[in-house]
């Protein structure tokens, strides 16, 4: 069965929708498998995807993103905007109205006090709240009445939907967490494992890193939902066994992130028990190009702006490296239907997607050779490697340890070899590479190599913070304890001006233009070489209806609408 027929199947199964209008709990039990098991149900303590998503069954934000990336109200009556008067003209205040009659799963009413408490809970010093960035610049939260929340920002916020929006920033109950603020945050095991929420399910039993047993929330706002009386979210194993349990044995109804080799999935789909769903977000597998010299002889100034890279400072070399890559082939090998080739570091949402760089989709080995030739990089000594002024085109290419990444490295090395660039490959354990330990020479921030490959994305749909990653001041260097997201150490006044411009622009179309301009600048400077736009791929049983895969929020965002398709 091809992916297309699977999709057709999905569409066909929608025809069976009428079965959905049943009463709460009528459809029995639903089994969900996450091959990485959640370790806590409190997203403010972990920040990991597995915890965010499992917690989203229980905790809800004021508004969240739907599958199209649009913000839709959940606990709030509507989404405040400047037009409807919810956001002030100076962009410094946002006023949320809660829906009337909302109740926590323990039967007590949800009030604006809980919302205010959530802000205090995450921002009190000493707690180490993983989502505190969502509450950046919030100076005060006012609660004029039980249903109104007024959030004041210290600076104008063209995109004021950080606090209380999305799976990362749900509302917690004040009554339950009042004693768990600051340093006590981590010691409230009981509370962290079974938070009281407003979502469709409540936690019955939580076994850390193993399994969560849930049942329908008796006080959920829609009296007919959820259709399932109980749910199990099991963790452990690997992506392949998770896919198997849905597609082949049918023991589970939904499997998260079934990123397995495409041919294996095809064999599993042949059993006819389930189907795959995929959707694309902002996750881009990319190669970062080091604009500074990582030569160990430089000591403390190694990989800092003090010394430009001897060969990669040449635009022609960077461009040739990008042209030599066949992105379509990489995608097919590594991700199958869960990936698509991309020429942008900002591939989505659609209004931010630039088409100016699409030429990169076709591999052009000859063109790459010509560019190098023209720039004076020639192979004068006949060893197959080009050189210029005594400098050889020889690169160290690092990445994290991961089967797909090592495949990519080997293939790219081959292509670069064809255009006369020698590549040495290196892979580093992910816990070190992404660890950010300033004492380790192997982190992706230190970038003691010439090029490196990894994937990154951003939360939600607003790229402002993400695009600001490549400001001059974001470059990791000794003064910042090697923190920062500007791995290429790209530095351009023009770019910084665009970032500053975006921070004060409210109009969505202007913001899109600015973001596209920034993306195009990075792409045309070739400091970032995007490879694959990586989607999410999950599997669900043919008998589970209502699944809408969402890459902008938790995958389980609409679990309240899931139901059993009756044969």
């Amino acid at each position: 069965m091809t992916f297309k027929t699977a999709l057709m199947g999905a569409v066909a199964s929608l025809a069976l929708v009428p079965a959905a209008f049943a009463e709460r709990g009528a459809d029995g039990h639903v089994n969900i498998i996450y091959y990485q098991a959640p370790s806590t149900m409190n997203p403010y303590l972990s920040g990991g995807t597995k915890e965010l998503e499992s917690a989203s069954l229980v905790l809800e934000p004021l508004a969240r993103y739907n599958e199209a990336g649009t913000i839709v109200p959940y606990l709030a009556e509507s989404v405040p905007t400047v037009e409807n008067g919810g956001v002030s003209e100076d962009l410094k205040t946002i006023t949320w109205k809660l829906k009337e009659g909302l109740k926590w799963s323990d039967g007590t009413p949800l009030t604006s006090e809980d919302v205010k408490f959530t802000w205090e809970y995450c921002t009190t010093e000493g707690g180490g709240c993983s989502q505190s960035e969502k509450y950046n610049d919030v100076v005060e939260v006012e609660t004029p009445d039980e249903l109104t929340v007024v959030v004041h920002f210290g600076v104008p916020k063209p995109f004021p939907y950080g606090p209380f929006v999305g799976a990362q920033a749900p509302i917690v109950q004040k009554a339950q967490f009042a004693d768990c603020v600051g340093e006590a945050m981590a010691s409230c095991t009981e509370e962290n494992f079974s938070p009281i929420g407003t979502g469709p399910f409540v936690v019955d039993e939580f076994k850390t890193n193993d399994v969560v047993s849930l049942s329908a929330n008796p006080h959920y706002r829609d009296p007919n939902k959820p259709a399932f009386a109980t749910a199990t979210l099991k963790g452990g194993g690997d992506a392949q066994s998770a896919a198997r349990s849905v597609l082949e044995t049918g023991e589970f109804d939904y499997a998260w992130n079934t990123q397995v080799s495409p041919d294996l999935l095809e064999a599993m789909l042949a059993k006819g028990k389930g189907q795959l769903v995929s959707a694309f977000g902002t996750l881009v597998e990319r190669i970062m190009v080091n604009m500074t010299d990582p030569d160990p002889a430089l000591g403390d100034e190694r990989a800092t702006a003090a010394h430009p890279h001897p060969i990669l400072s040449d635009l022609a070399v960077r461009k040739a490296l990008s042209m030599a890559i066949d992105r379509a082939l990489l995608t097919e090998i590594g991700y199958g239907d869960a990936g698509r080739p991309t020429c942008n570091v900002l591939p989505a949402p659609a209004i931010y997607n630039s088409t100016a760089n699409d030429a990169c989709l076709t591999q052009d080995i000859e063109g790459a050779k010509a560019i190098l030739e023209e720039a004076g990089w020639v192979d004068s000594d006949g060893d197959g490697i080009r050189e210029k002024d005594g400098k050889k085109l020889s690169l160290l290419f690092q990445s994290s340890t991961n089967a797909i990444r090592q495949d990519f490295q080997a293939i790219i090395k081959q292509w670069w070899g064809e255009i006369g660039v020698e590549t040495e490959l290196r892979n580093i354990d992910a816990s070190v590479f992404f660890g950010g330990d300033a004492g380790s020479p192997d982190t992706f921030q230190k970038f003691y190599a010439d090029v490196e490959m990894y994937a990154n994305n951003f939360d939600g749909t607003d790229p402002e913070a993400y695009m600001a990653n490549w400001e001059c001041k974001q470059a990791p260097r000794p003064e910042t304890q090697w923190q920062g997201n500007n791995m290429p150490r790209f530095c351009s006044d023009e770019y910084d001006a665009l970032v500053a411009e975006m921070a004060k622009t409210g109009d969505i179309n202007k913001r899109a233009e600015l973001a596209k301009a920034m993306n195009d600048m990075l792409m045309q400077e070739y400091v970032i070489i995007p490879l694959v736009d990586r989607g999410r791929l999950s599997a669900h049983s043919n008998t589970l209806g209502g699944v809408i895969l969402n890459t902008w929020d938790s995958e389980l965002w609409n679990a309240a609408d899931w139901y059993r398709i009756k044969e």
Partner: protein, 335 residues
């Protein structure tokens, strides 16, 4: 014997302290960061704050002493409180896992049932099966039974559990649909029906581990029996007119047990270490799975505590093996 036991127990205290220090330093020096698995969308300043909240800002010796205090004073108090309903541990900081921020020991307690059910039971089965097979194989060396036993133990030895486990899943879960491929740790036994389900979900992991363990023990048993069967005392016993049964099962077996007891006793701590791979394949989520996921997540308190518990068990079962020697062979005396 009692003196010997007490002396050994006292001597094990500095050994264990030294082991705990070595484990702690190794974990501390090992590269890896508990924040590495958090998405890159969480900014570095926030990660730094999270690290501080985990207590990673303290110097090494303080953290080590803290851990010692928590492990040897607070945790026993908690256990004591739990049994007798007292409140000695009230308000004291327990050993907290970095991943879940919950006390490590309660997670250990939570994981114990499935580990003992699956790994422990398979070890018991393996021993019960392997010893008779080893004896009979040696007694009838090169018979068809011995050949078959050798073949099966070669299979058990050489096929890794990640292969045999997946093979069983494909045959019995995917094709035949007899057994579940994923272990349900929330299952409780209330009646015959649920007991039968428990048997079904344990069948495959227990079989895989039994095959693996039995292969090892039966080989040792056979070799040791063969060594003894040709000894002079066996001939003497037969010459005295003792029945074959008594010769083999009393004289030879008892003398052959010494190396086998070592293997069996030293294998027991492995039960508590869990069977990392098998637990992963069948999603049993016992102690082994917990250890491996803690290692991946750089969850130092969890790894430290678990490895230290294994160290204690290994030291303890070494001692038990030594004592058993004395019981099996009266010539061995330690005093």
């Amino acid at each position: 014997m009692l003196h010997f036991t007490i002396r050994r127990l006292i001597l094990s205290v500095p050994t264990l302290l030294f082991i705990s220090l070595v484990i702690f330093l190794l974990l501390d020096l090992a590269p890896g960061d508990p924040m590495a698995s958090i998405p890159l969308t969480v900014p570095p300043e926030v990660k730094e704050k999270m690290r501080e909240a985990l207590g990673l800002g303290e110097p090494v010796h303080i953290r080590f002493l803290n851990w010692l205090y928590q492990f040897f004073v607070v945790e026993p108090q908690v256990a004591f409180d739990h049994i007798f309903g007292t409140d000695f541990s009230e308000g004291k900081q327990r050993i907290i896992s970095f991943q879940s921020r919950s006390p490590v020991m309660s997670v250990v307690a939570e994981r114990m049932p499935q580990t003992l059910w699956v790994v422990g039971l398979s070890y018991v089965f393996a021993t019960l099966i392997a010893v008779p097979i080893g004896i009979f194989s040696a007694y009838r060396q090169y018979s068809w039974f011995d050949q078959l036993g050798t073949f099966i133990s070669m299979v058990g030895f050489s096929i890794p559990t990640f292969f045999s486990g997946v093979l069983l899943i494909v045959v019995f879960s995917v094709i035949l649909g007899w057994f579940p491929s994923i272990y349900d740790t929330t299952h409780t036994i209330t009646d015959w029906g649920s007991f039968w389900f428990q048997v079904k979900q344990m069948a495959m992991p227990v079989f895989v581990l039994t095959l693996y363990n039995a292969a090892q023990v039966s080989r040792f048993m056979r070799a040791s029996m063969l060594d003894n069967l040709n000894q002079d005392y066996v001939r003497t016993a037969r010459a005295k007119g003792l029945s074959e049964r008594v010769v083999v099962l009393v004289h030879v077996l008892r003398n052959s047990m010494i190396p086998v007891v070592t293997v069996i006793a030293l294998g027991v701590p492995n039960i508590f270490g869990g069977a990392i791979i098998t637990e992963q394949v069948f999603q049993v989520n016992g102690l082994g799975q917990m250890l491996i996921s803690a290692i991946y997540a750089s969850d130092a308190p969890m790894v430290q505590t678990l490895t230290f518990i294994f160290a204690v068990l290994i030291v303890l079962f070494n001692l038990i093996a030594d004592i058993l020697y004395g019981i099996l062979d009266p010539r061995i005396r330690y005093d």
